[in-house]
Subunit: 425 residues, 2 copies
């Protein structure tokens, strides 16, 4: 049997995804950089601070002039000037002299330390008493003490947080090189699916749900949802839609039509696409067995189950890590984010030899997170809204007992989304 | 002493925020609805499904025709037709008859149950054997079984997740009423601050950091960063910039210039703004004491400390909950999201009588989350990038010992952002 026809485990699929190369790099302004992933190491182009800076309100002094100073035997210094915030020092400090400097102000030439204002007393006549000695360098930041020129600020592959953008601003960067984010087309197929813009829904048909849910999940994964479209179960139309989507999207999601059986259109569509390479045809998880992954040149096509709950699980388990991988984030890291530990409220039976992905609803009691399995057919939309994520019962485990602490893989990026339910009246 | 001059506790500030009314409502297309907060209860406008639907592949039958059926004594039924996916049934079922129906297909008139295909056998001549009885309603969804017309789908105040958008699509909604998101102006003041577009930075001055960090935090809070601007410490220019910002932003952030002292410009600016009402002038936390909150008509102005690390903490603790509150999310809920339990790696000393907000860096070891305090002056930008969030040592607690499990308030929306560090080389 050819390798691609073997049903793969979830780990095998994730290993394939890890081999995807990130998209090409682009330059973005700092205002748009938060959340993006660096495509290169970033080094500091200058020292921060770039001048000697006071870290407290006080007096710039020569440290040796304060040696031995105490409450009972203070050092007397002559105040010869003041440094103003945002301005260079106007005076050079000589022996026995002091210059007032505010927190963050520039230290004058000739000074090597700052005495905190708390340890001085103005005795009039332009003279201060210093009641504690300072050592050279005390309360002063030298150029580069905070960030040294040419030091590594962030390595390639680093996802920039708000504070990291502040660090880039501090060294004068106005733009930064990051990996592009994928544009994702979301196609939904099935003879029973009606476009959301259809005025009415005949008997036998249902409204499209997957393009909405999957597009929202695409956006949450930091990618850009592009064309969304409902396609009839017709090989010509499906192939034409996929070809069109592949022209200007790096990733195409096709939900429905991927179950092994009479309607296994996705694989037939792939056969019509030049250069399509089937990487995954079936995954040993439930739901999600009919999942398909293919490469078409540098582009990626996912075939997802048509049931909304199943499509959402497969997106969370595989598509999301792949979209993050294209942005430069490793599968290992993306798999470890977006989980919560929780205590099972009921037994979770499972079938040996297949990984079960069981939807759960989370709640909180006395600071403990609880997971309640969501029962009901995955064909029922209402079960979808009740679930916050899923628990994986691995293939070699025959289930978990109530009371077990398990890892819940969360559907949404809204942290601890189950709290949303607290305001229900 | 007037009430507004008293330094407030963090809880008092959060209570004030809780009283903010959400912004007005607006209608958004479903494509843009994820993450938004409903301004009204949403009820189902129709049944889902809106027709009787098979939940398995099988045969539509009259249940009574299968009563008593078994492997040894199967019921014999005549197949009189087939229902196709997405189409209404073409035949009405009579006694002794069966009609093939796929999963999700429309049930024909006259049938009251579905026999799974696994419990039937085609014996040729258009006849099937049924080897198990079914009860009326078995394997059939009645109209409204999933979602009943007029039932409450989500209450006002509910933040829509990806799957919730799918539920709205299922009942044919193309748009939904939500609270508007605030537009936020971010002004940075200080005689030492240089606009990011300045070609060079003279001695004594530093580059603006706060507009970048705060704008990124605004976006993470679901709001829209608008005008960002660096203003000199000049009362006329500050007042003019605030007036301009207030014309088309619901919220203005002004960082720097809010410490009690010679440069207490923010309060003087407020005195120049018509109808400004000072709600908070000082909060008993460190850092963040000089925090200011004011209302100007329906608009809000925050005065934040100038130190980037302090501004970021005050944003996370107070500004973020206020931006979420304007979107319709309660302070209680927003305060409980975005936290992580972690084990302290060092003693955290604290001063009695003041709440200390101490920055920490998170890491993970053997599945346990560890919090390491970040030391170093908050004037140092590099300490900002090292921190993932902060631990609060309440005013009546004199510190925590190493090994204590504490709650860490995370700066970022990227779940468990500390994992970002794992790829450092």
């Amino acid at each position: 049997m050819p390798e691609f026809l073997k049903v793969k485990t979830a780990d095998e699929v994730l290993n394939l995804i890890e081999d995807f190369a990130p998209l090409e790099e682009e330059t973005v302004l700092l205002e748009a950089a938060a959340g993006r992933v660096l495509s290169r190491n970033v080094e500091a182009s200058c020292h921060v601070p770039h001048f000697r800076r006071a870290v407290m309100d006080g007096y710039a002094v020569r440290a040796r002039d304060t040696f031995g100073a105490s409450e009972s035997l203070p050092a007397l210094l002559t105040v010869v000037g003041e440094v103003f915030m945002g301005q260079p020092a106007q005076h050079t400090l000589g022996p026995g002299q002091a210059i007032a400097v505010p927190t963050g102000g520039a230290m004058p030439e000739g000074a090597d330390a700052l005495v905190m204002v708390e340890y001085t007393q103005d005795v009039g006549d332009g003279t201060i008493e210093v009641t504690r000695p300072v050592a050279p360098g005390d309360n002063v930041l030298e150029p580069g003490d905070d960030i040294a020129e040419a030091s590594l600020l962030f390595p390639a592959g680093w996802q920039l947080r708000a504070q990291d953008v502040g660090v880039l601003a501090a060294v004068g960067m106005r733009s930064v090189s990051v990996f592009r984010v994928p544009r994702v087309a979301v196609l939904s197929t099935g003879d029973e699916i009606v476009s959301p813009d259809a005025p009415e829904v005949p008997v036998g048909k249902i409204r499209d749900i997957n393009t909405f849910v999957l597009a929202a999940q695409v956006r949450e994964a930091g990618a850009v949802p592009g064309w969304t479209h409902v396609v009839p179960d017709d090989l010509d139309q499906l192939a034409a839609a996929c070809r069109q989507a592949l022209t200007d999207h790096e990733v195409v999601l096709l939900s429905g039509g991927s179950s092994v059986g009479a309607r296994d259109y996705t694989v037939q569509v792939l056969e019509r696409l030049n250069g399509a390479e089937l990487l995954v045809h079936g995954v040993a998880i439930r739901p999600g067995k009919p999942t398909i992954l293919a490469r078409i040149g540098s582009r990626i096509l996912w075939g997802l189950p048509g049931q909304p709950a199943s499509a959402m699980i497969v997106f969370t388990a595989f598509v999301r890590p792949s979209l993050l991988r294209l942005q430069g984030i490793s599968v290992d890291r993306s798999s470890r984010t977006r989980t919560s530990r929780a205590v099972l409220q009921r037994n979770l039976p499972s079938v040996h030899g297949r990984a079960d992905y069981i939807r759960v609803k989370l709640s909180e009691e006395d600071g403990q997170v609880l997971a309640e399995p969501v029962f009901g057919s995955s064909a029922m939309i209402s079960t979808l809204a009740r679930a916050d994520g899923y628990v994986i019962v691995p293939e070699h485990v025959e289930g978990y007992e109530a009371g077990t602490e398990v890892t819940v893989h969360l559907f949404g990026s809204i942290s601890r989304p189950f709290l949303a339910g607290k305001e229900e009246t």
